[in-house]
């Protein structure tokens, strides 16, 4: 699905990430941890081609990102749902339209999917806020809307950057539940998080691998979290 081979990344200064290799197998469940500023967001951006690696190869669905043109990247993003750390919406459109945005821009009929959309909104607890505008949402509501937007296309891969950063434990559990269920349906999941409790909670339900970025490298963290 997503494959990194000896990838290095720098923003112009020294290397932030070095010699990273990883294959996200279909149906796998990964957590990504590491201290703030270690490069978790950077790593995820490499995975949806928002950044190009400074060395090595990133392959999305078996195609090297350097060989993809802009339309190829757009098409690949329809198969990768992303919850961004700094979630942004179209502030002039209501939440429901924002959640359906990936369907709209890929030319799918949103009417066909309206049942789906309503179900999803109630899943993330935003049914009552469907007609609100994004600037009217709380931080947690924004993150839930972002998750809903990330999964509406039923993508093959879901990348979530701190999806539980602003929400309480109960809601975190519910979001995790949603992701676990998606994983059981065969989706590949990667969650960047500081929240060790979340990781522990997940471990009871799925076989999750925990990756840690430390010292510019990606390591498989021990099972003793």
């Amino acid at each position: 699905m997503i494959e990194l081979e000896n990838v290095a990344m720098s923003y112009g200064g020294g290397e932030l990430l070095s010699d990273i290799s990883l294959q996200l197998a279909p149906g796998s469940f990964h957590f990504l941890t590491g201290p703030s500023g270690a490069g978790k967001t950077t790593f995820l951006k490499l995975c949806y081609a928002a950044l190009m690696p400074t060395a090595g190869h990133v392959r999305l669905f078996d195609t090297d990102v350097r060989a993809m043109d802009r339309d190829d990247i757009a098409l690949a993003r329809r198969r990768i749902g992303v919850v961004h750390q700094d979630v942004q919406f179209l502030d002039h459109l209501p939440v429901a339209d924002n959640v359906a945005l990936p369907l709209t821009v890929s030319g799918r009929d949103t009417l066909d999917e309206s049942v789906n959309l309503r179900e999803l909104l109630s899943w993330v607890g935003l049914k009552a806020r469907a007609d609100a505008l994004p600037p009217e949402l709380s931080g947690g509501e924004r993150q839930r809307a972002a998750l809903a937007r990330a999964v509406i296309m039923s993508p093959d891969v879901i990348l979530a950057d701190e999806p539980t950063g602003n929400i309480d434990w109960e809601m975190s559990q519910r979001l995790l539940q949603l992701l676990v269920e998606l994983n059981r349906m065969g989706k590949t999941i990667m969650i960047a998080t500081h929240d060790l409790n979340l990781i522990r909670a997940a471990k009871g339900q799925v076989q999750a691998r925990v990756l840690r970025i430390a010292g510019r490298r990606l390591q498989l963290a021990g099972a003793d979290l």
């Binding site: 757009a74 179209l90 502030d91």
Partner: protein, 302 residues
């Protein structure tokens, strides 16, 4: 060559209501774009009318210029025939003269009729004999001809129309050129104005564009929302401007055009269709300008 696909043009104009909603409406830029397009089109109508009218004038004068000059022979009645023959001989030998012909009495009478009436006894009056001289394309040396005539035909006066018409023709041609240059400048300014407006809109909607891109929108989808807006807006504005401009020309007091120096500022016959090209051209300019601006902005995004 690819045949133009008109269904695509129709799609473009009808548009995708969904895609259109993606970009928030922009009140003031929209109205300013419309207004400037209208103003530019209004000016373009006048520049076009000027070019067409001066073009018509230059052509007409140019034609007459090529035609003729006149030699007038005034002499005592008994010498006039001899001098006429002498003048014709001189003219025959002059390089640059295509033909020369003495006007008959009937023709001279016809020329004088508007002033003296039909019953004028031309034969008995001491009116000068006129010789019509047709030049070749290169023309003749008027100065040289005058010198020769003064030696051989003392009663001859060369009336060279070209001397006063030629500068007028070149002024008219210059005016026509100016008209076309103005049209070029107007469209250039329109392109610059639309590029500025589109760039402002693209910058103001940077977040919208970034979000659309991140959720998997293609560049063409994003660009279309902007391009369509500015193209239709310019088309509408320019159409309003052209209609107003034509109206203003129709309201001009009509000038006396027959035979005068002035030909009325305006169009003739099918020429009235010419200004209708302006909105189409403006829309094309807007399309290209916005397209380039959008492509430039999108290229910067991941």
């Amino acid at each position: 060559m690819k045949r133009p696909d008109f269904s695509q043009v129709a799609d473009f104009i009808v548009g995708d209501a969904q895609a259109d909603r993606m970009v928030p409406p922009t009140g003031i830029t929209a109205r300013l774009t419309l207004l400037s397009a209208a103003a530019m089109a209004f000016l373009a109508v006048f520049a076009l009318a000027l070019s067409v009218a001066t073009g018509r004038m230059a052509d007409r004068w140019g034609e007459e210029l090529a035609r003729s000059s006149t030699l007038r022979i005034s002499a005592p009645a008994d010498q006039i025939d001899a001098q006429t023959q002498a003048a014709l001989r001189v003219l025959e030998q002059t390089p640059g003269v295509a033909s020369a012909r003495a006007l008959s009495d009937e023709e001279q009478r016809a020329l004088l009729e508007p002033w003296f009436g039909p019953d004028l006894p031309v034969e008995t009056l001491p009116i000068p004999q006129l010789i019509e001289v047709i030049e070749t394309a290169d023309g003749y040396d008027a100065q040289g001809l005058r010198l020769r005539l003064s030696a051989e035909v003392p009663g001859a006066v060369l009336d060279d129309h070209t001397r006063w018409r030629r500068p007028l023709v070149s002024a008219a041609s210059r005016l026509r050129l100016l008209g076309w240059v103005s049209i070029g400048l107007i469209f250039g300014a329109m392109a610059a104005m639309i590029t500025l407006a589109a760039n402002a809109a693209l910058a103001a909607n940077a977040q919208v564009i970034a979000v659309l891109r991140l959720v998997g929108a293609r560049d063409s989808y994003i660009a279309k929302a902007f391009v369509r807006r500015y193209t239709l807006r310019t088309l509408t504005g320019a159409a309003i401007g052209v209609v107003t401009g034509i109206g203003a020309i129709l309201l001009l007091p009509s000038a006396q055009t027959t035979g005068g120096f002035l030909t009325g500022l305006g169009f003739r016959g099918a020429g009235w269709l010419l200004p209708l090209v302006i909105p189409l051209l403006a829309a094309l300019v807007a399309f290209l300008a916005t397209h380039l601006a959008a492509a430039r902005t999108l290229r910067e995004l991941p």
